[in-house]
Structure formats: C-alpha cells, structure tokens
C-alpha cells in the first residue's frame, strides 16, 4: 500500500468575527490519490476557500495534520516550504486578481521556471512558448500584459503557471466559476487532458454540481466547515443523503440536462 498523495486529518481553522467564534474548517479529514480529482462542494461560506488556503499554507491551521507526498507538510518552513510548493499549486477564481496586474504573460510564466531552477535564463523563453501551447494559447501572447487579454486566456495563463513546475496536485478554487459557459467547457476539457497526460491530481472546489459531476472522481460536501457527506461523485450527486447535499442538487439547474446526457 502506498500512501495517498494528500492526506488531511482533523483540519480546523477558527475565526472570531464580532465577538463570536466561527469554525471555517471544523475537524475536516479527506485524502486525494495520485491523478485523482476530489471535488469540494458546498454553499457559499461553507469553508471551501479556507480549506484551500490551509492546504497551500496561505493561512495556518489551528489544529490538524496535512501529509503531502508522504511527509508532514505543516512542519515545513522557509526555503524547504518554498521548494515543496513546486509540487502543490493553485488556480484562483479570478485570474485578473490572482496575477500581478502590471506583469506580462511572459513574466507570469517565467517566475516559476526561474524560482524553481527549472530552466536556464537562455532556455526559459522556449519553455514559456511550450507552456502557452500546452494550454492552447498562441506564442504571440507572451509579450502582452495580463490586463490586455481575455478572461478565458487569463485563466489559461494561470493554469500554465500552475503546471510550469510539474506539480502533483493542483487546487482549483472556483477556477471556472467566473467564465462563460463555452469558455468553461474548454477549460474543463483542458484540465481533463492535463490530468490524463501528466497524472495531476486536482482538488476541485466548486458550488456547481453539474461541473463537479463531469470532472470529479469523488466528492466531499461541506456545510458550515464540516464534511456532511462524501463518496463517489456520481453516486453522491445522483442520490444525496445529507440535507445539504439534497439542497445543493435541487439548486443545480444544469444537472438535469447533464444527467440526461449521461443516460
């Protein structure tokens, strides 16, 4: 038995707001295997982004363990943490906010290659072109500023940046939620291609169960910082057991169409 790629146990994060203490993540446990997609679904405010940020060490947990690639991820600090980040990447919901507004596409892609010593300075321009082509963008985009390209192109750039260091896990926090339907379908296809070819695992955060059903192997449904139910994505979405699962399925408009496609 090999250990899972990511094993989270007892993860807890509390915030105090207005004198009251709320647990944004409350004793959360789950695991992700190599090359697998786990969806994290739940209503707004249920703690999805908090869990993403805890896993990426953008915020620190109050309690719990995170094992990543077989070692204790929460004990890493400084240079050791920065090095390991090459294997654990994230794509944010709004690529305009998540990329330096003053940067060019080339610089955004150059940073990870430079920081993790993936390619020499002379070699990096070619690697940047290869990355752009990998995510379906033309090489001519390299010189453009981030604010000059479309939302869909920006999210492709964000994905190219995330895969530049050949990560084993990419956390996607509502990464397709802000895109139009047609662009969303293209990005989802790109993510599936990348997963098949490079065996990347995804923690796919979304409140859209239609999308989740199309892309995820397993699902965990969050409610108030706790996992209300989890299991095989189709099984759970087709027959949710928890109250919150039923409410989410009832609220998903596109689900009926996707179900009809599947049958």
């Amino acid at each position: 038995m090999t250990s899972p790629l990511l094993a989270v146990s007892g993860l807890t994060k509390r915030y105090s707001s207005g004198g009251k203490i709320i647990a944004a993540a409350d004793d959360v446990s789950f695991h992700i295997e190599h090359g697998e997609t786990l969806a994290l679904a739940g209503p707004s405010g249920s703690g999805k982004s908090t869990i993403a940020r805890l896993i990426l060490r953008l915020i620190e947990a109050d309690a719990g363990r995170i094992e990543f690639e077989g070692s204790d991820f929460l004990s890493l600090n400084g240079a050791a943490l920065r090095d390991r980040r090459a294997h654990l990447q994230m794509v944010f919901q709004d690529p305009l906010a998540a990329l330096n507004p003053r940067a060019t596409v080339a610089r955004v892609l150059d940073d990870p290659l430079r920081i993790h010593h993936i390619a020499s300075r002379a070699e990096r321009p070619r690697r940047i072109v290869a990355l752009l082509e990998r995510v379906g963008l033309s090489a001519g985009l390299a010189g453009r500023a981030i604010h000059e390209i479309s939302g869909g192109q920006r999210q492709r750039v964000a994905i190219a940046r995330a895969i530049a260091t050949k990560p084993s896990l990419v956390v996607l926090d509502e990464a397709v939620s802000a895109l139009d339907v047609s662009v969303r379908a293209q990005i989802l296809r790109l993510l599936l291609d990348l997963q098949r070819e490079e065996r990347i695992a995804y923690l796919f955060i979304s409140h859209d169960l239609g999308v989740v059903r199309a892309i995820a192997h397993r699902i965990a449904i969050l409610d108030g910082g706790r996992i209300a139910e989890s299991g095989d994505a189709r099984t759970v979405i087709d027959a949710p057991q928890s109250a919150i699962g039923k409410a989410l399925v009832a609220a998903a408009p596109k689900l009926s169409r996707i179900e009809r496609d599947a049958s």
């Binding site: 980040r85 906010a97 507004p101 990870p112 920081i115």
Partner: protein, 276 residues
C-alpha cells in the same frame, strides 16, 4: 482624451508646466550661456540691473554676474530638490513596504523609527546633519531626504496593508517566491501611485530647505545657490535690494511651478482613476 491633453486643460497645470519647462531650460542652458565660473568676478561691484547689457541683472558686492549666478543657481536648486525628493520617496517607499508587508515586530520597529524621525522638525534634522558631516552636495541631499522620507513611508505602508491581502500576492507565495521579492517586486510597484502623488510637495519642500540651508551658509560652498545669493545680498539690502529680490522671486516661482504642475498631475491621475 490622452492624459497629456487632460493635464493641459487645467490653467494651473499649464502655468506650472510653463514655469518648470522654463526653469529646466535655464538649468540645462546655464553652462552654454555662462560657460565661465559664475563665482568669478565679471565687472564692477554692485552694478544695478539693466545698466550694462553684457551684465543684464547687474553684479553683486564682489562684482559677480547676477544673471550667471541665477542660471547656475537654478541648476543647484533643481538638482538638489529632485535628488533629495527621489531619495526620500525611494527610501520611504521601501521602508513603508517592508513594514506593511512583514507586519509584526518588523512593522513595529520600523514604524517607531518613522515616528521618531517625524517628531523632529525636518529642517532641524537637516541642519544638524549638515553641521556634523560638513556641507557638500551629497550631504545636503541626504540631509533633506532625512526629514522627508517619513510621509512616503506612511502612505506606502497603508497602501501595502490592503495590497498584501490581494490574490496575486497569495499567488506569488504559491509559486514559492521569496517574501523579499514579493514585497519589492510584486507589492511595491503597485503601492507607488499614492506615494508618487506626494512628490510635488516633497520636491517643493526640498528646494526650500536647500535654499534655507544655503542661506545659513550650510550649502555646498563650491556652488552658487539662490539661498546663498539671498544671504549675500542681505548685507546690502538697503542700497541694493535687487540682489536679494531677484533670487527670492526665482525661488518663489520655482516652488509655485512645482506645486501647480504636481497638482495637475494628481488631478489628471484622479480623473483617470474615476473614469476607469
């Protein structure tokens, strides 16, 4: 509408731009029109203005050409003012960014230092520094910057406190960027606009401080300065008031020009911001 045309729509901005352009031309042309040493004797002492057309503004107590001194003084005023302001803005922006981005103890220490500098009047600080180290161009620039960096530091810190919460900073951490690089390369450039909005006030203040230091005899002795000219003229204020009035007017016009043009730039930037 282009920013330049919008800038030129306000009359104050035009006035400021005209004054500054003229001043810059004067400063740049000084060595062309007056290639010889402006501190050398050029004619009889205390010649009144408009008497001799080879010495249009007359001469001072030692017979030096006032117009030549005025031109070369513009060089010193502008050079010192711009260098001191640039130093103050750069130091302030870096310190404010590091304080705001690092937070915690680093922030606490840096802001206490900023407080300490801010409680001492800027001019006293400059005076003390030049008195101790000795007057030279570099020392005067440093002395003026010493009292001027705290404002930019506070503005930069406030801006950084909001920028550091943005997703692109989290994104930079995710790709493993070193915190120092994140602070200086990702955060600082985005915090600059409100800091740069202070530049006109800081340049104007720096020019005045330089003049005041020179007036007190603490300027670089090897350079003509307007403050030094005013001080020189003071001895003969009754008989030859023009010797103090001419550089005094130049100083007032310069500060006014810097201020007006600066306001114009801020206005233009504000309009652009509200349009976007």
């Amino acid at each position: 509408m282009s920013p330049l045309r919008r800038f030129l729509r306000t009359p104050e901005a035009i006035a400021g731009a005209v004054i500054l352009t003229a001043l810059a031309a004067v400063a740049l042309a000084a060595p062309l029109f007056f290639p010889s040493d402006p501190q050398a004797i050029a004619g009889p002492a205390l010649l009144s203005p408009f008497q001799d057309w080879s010495l249009p503004l007359g001469t001072d107590r030692l017979g030096r050409d006032v117009l030549a001194e005025l031109f070369h003084g513009a060089r010193t005023s502008l050079a010192v003012g711009l260098a001191a302001a640039a130093t103050a803005l750069a130091v302030g922006a870096v310190i404010g960014t590091l304080a705001g981005f690092a937070g915690g103890l680093v922030d606490e220490v840096l802001m206490r230092i900023t407080d300490a500098f801010q409680t001492v009047p800027a001019f006293l600080l400059a005076l003390a520094f030049v008195s101790i180290v000795g007057p030279s161009l570099g020392v005067v620039v440093a002395a003026i910057a010493l009292g001027a960096w705290t404002g930019p530091a506070r503005v930069a810190r406030a801006e950084v406190l909001s920028i550091r919460e943005r997703d692109f900073v989290a994104g930079a951490r995710v790709i493993g960027m070193h915190p120092l690089e994140i602070a200086l390369r990702e955060v600082l450039p985005n915090a600059l606009p409100p800091v740069l909005a202070l530049s006109s006030v800081i340049v104007a203040a720096a020019i005045l401080t330089e003049a005041a230091l020179s007036f007190l005899g603490l300027g670089d002795p090897n350079r003509v300065t307007w403050g030094g000219m005013i001080a020189e003229g003071r001895a003969v204020l009754r008989t030859a008031p023009f010797l103090s009035i001419v550089p005094g007017i130049a100083l007032v016009l310069t500060v006014l020009g810097v201020y007006l043009a600066g306001e114009g730039v801020v206005e233009t930037a504000a309009v652009r911001k509200s349009l976007s």
